[in-house]
């Protein structure tokens, strides 16, 4: 506990400016010496044990070897009787007032003590819980931050894929262009050859048609008017025969 006082005084000395080199020196030596006691042991959970609310347990353990269990009680009774009988303590109106107040106080403590203590403890617990929550959240966010950073690093590692894709695109475009050129060359040559073939075909067709026309015309010219009349008469006779045949078929 004294070390804590030393720490406090050291702190205040340091904080209240520089009075002189020696004082600063002293505070630094204080600080250094108290640092060697770190970590400070935790405060005890409960206070010293007492009996009947006032008398410390150490008194009873002190007297136990000599006087046993009833020793301190006998001591207390004897002291009380001594003070009353010798009128070292005089009974007066104040005695009654003190007794009443004492009774009320003891009743109040006995009845409401535990709940008030629980309430105070709860306030403390809430503070600690809040601080703990802050700490947990901070730790969680830090770990999350580390995770995110690692993920981003992993993402960055994949950057070569982008450039591979770009190079692929370029290669594919070049390849496409090359193939298009090949195709174009072949197609052009083929077109030229086909043109020649078609040209020849056209020539031949035209010659054929011309010859046919010429033959037809010469045949028509060679038909004399007499032959024409004869062929028309023959046609009419044939038609009459055909008409008779169809009439006969129709009546049947």
């Amino acid at each position: 506990m004294l070390s804590r006082l030393v720490l406090v005084s050291g702190h205040t000395l340091k904080n209240s400016g520089s009075f002189g080199a020696c004082l600063v020196q002293a505070s630094r030596s204080f600080h250094q010496s108290s640092q060697s006691l770190a970590p400070v042991p935790p405060l005890p959970e409960k206070g010293g044990k007492v009996r009947h609310g006032i008398f410390p347990e150490e008194l009873f353990t002190l007297l136990y070897p000599k006087t046993g269990v009833t020793g301190p009680y006998m001591l207390g009774t004897g002291l009380l009787l001594y003070m009353l009988s010798k009128e070292i303590y005089v009974i007066n109106h104040e005695t009654f007032a003190a007794a009443s107040i004492g009774a009320v106080v003891i009743y109040g403590i006995k009845k409401f003590g535990p709940s008030v203590a629980a309430f105070a403890d709860k306030i403390n617990e809430d503070k600690v819980a809040k601080a703990q929550e802050v700490k947990d959240q901070a730790m969680a966010s830090l770990t999350q931050g580390i995770e995110d950073e690692k993920k981003e690093q992993w993402r960055v590692e994949g950057r070569h894929m982008l450039f591979d894709a770009k190079r692929n695109n370029v290669a594919m475009l070049l390849e496409t262009n090359y193939r298009e050129r090949l195709h174009m060359v072949t197609n052009e040559v083929k077109k030229r050859l086909d043109y020649q073939v078609e040209l020849q075909n056209l020539h031949r067709r035209m010659e054929q048609e011309h010859m046919v026309n010429w033959v037809e015309q010469s045949v028509i010219k060679s038909i004399t008017p007499l032959q024409e009349k004869e062929s028309i008469a023959k046609c009419i006779a044939d038609l009459k025969v055909l008409a008779k045949a169809t009439q006969a078929r129709a009546t049947v």
Binding site: V40, M139, L142, E157, G158, A165, T186, V189, L193
Partner: protein, 161 residues
């Protein structure tokens, strides 16, 4: 007409997609559609054009020597490979990207070191129920009450209670 240049590398688009951060997804999608269209165009073209049937033409075309002349010239013809102007640029871009990536990694590692330091401080802290107010002020300097600025209790503006 032989000797293809840069071979096309197989790209794992699924793995690539995993590594794309959400704010660059649109760019990635446009890249993918472009690549797919280019690949489709390439696939639609056959590798070699259909060979010309010289014997048929020789038998049909009347002009003497024309087909032979065509054939000879056709065989001698070499189609030039298209010149690759972009790969150098892409390599330069890649170098740039590598540099920026290295810088980014450095920054990222610095961040991680900071976070680690904070985590260490939290891990080495004494538990709250063993702290005094001074220990609390030492660990979290923001909890220290400014007794100079607010000399009277509660040493902070009432609104902050």
């Amino acid at each position: 007409m032989a000797g293809r240049r840069a071979a096309v590398k197989a790209i794992d688009w699924v793995a690539f997609a995993e590594r794309v951060p959400p704010n660059q997804r649109a760019m990635f999608n446009s890249l993918k559609t472009r690549s797919d269209s280019v690949a489709a165009k390439l696939a639609s073209l056959p590798e070699k054009p259909a060979p010309i049937d010289w014997t048929y033409y020789r038998s049909v075309v009347a002009k003497a020597g024309m087909v032979d002349e065509f054939e000879k010239k056709f065989a001698d013809l070499t189609v030039p490979q298209p010149v690759d102007t972009q790969t150098a640029k892409i390599d330069a871009q890649e170098q740039e990207a590598n540099k920026t990536a290295a810088a980014y990694l450095e920054a990222s590692k610095a961040h991680i070191a900071e976070y680690e330091k904070g985590l260490e401080k939290f891990r080495n802290m004494i538990p709250f129920d063993q702290m005094t107010i001074e220990d609390l002020n030492n660990t979290f300097p923001e909890t220290k009450l400014d007794k100079v600025k607010h000399p009277y209790w509660p040493h902070k503006p009432i609104a902050d209670l």
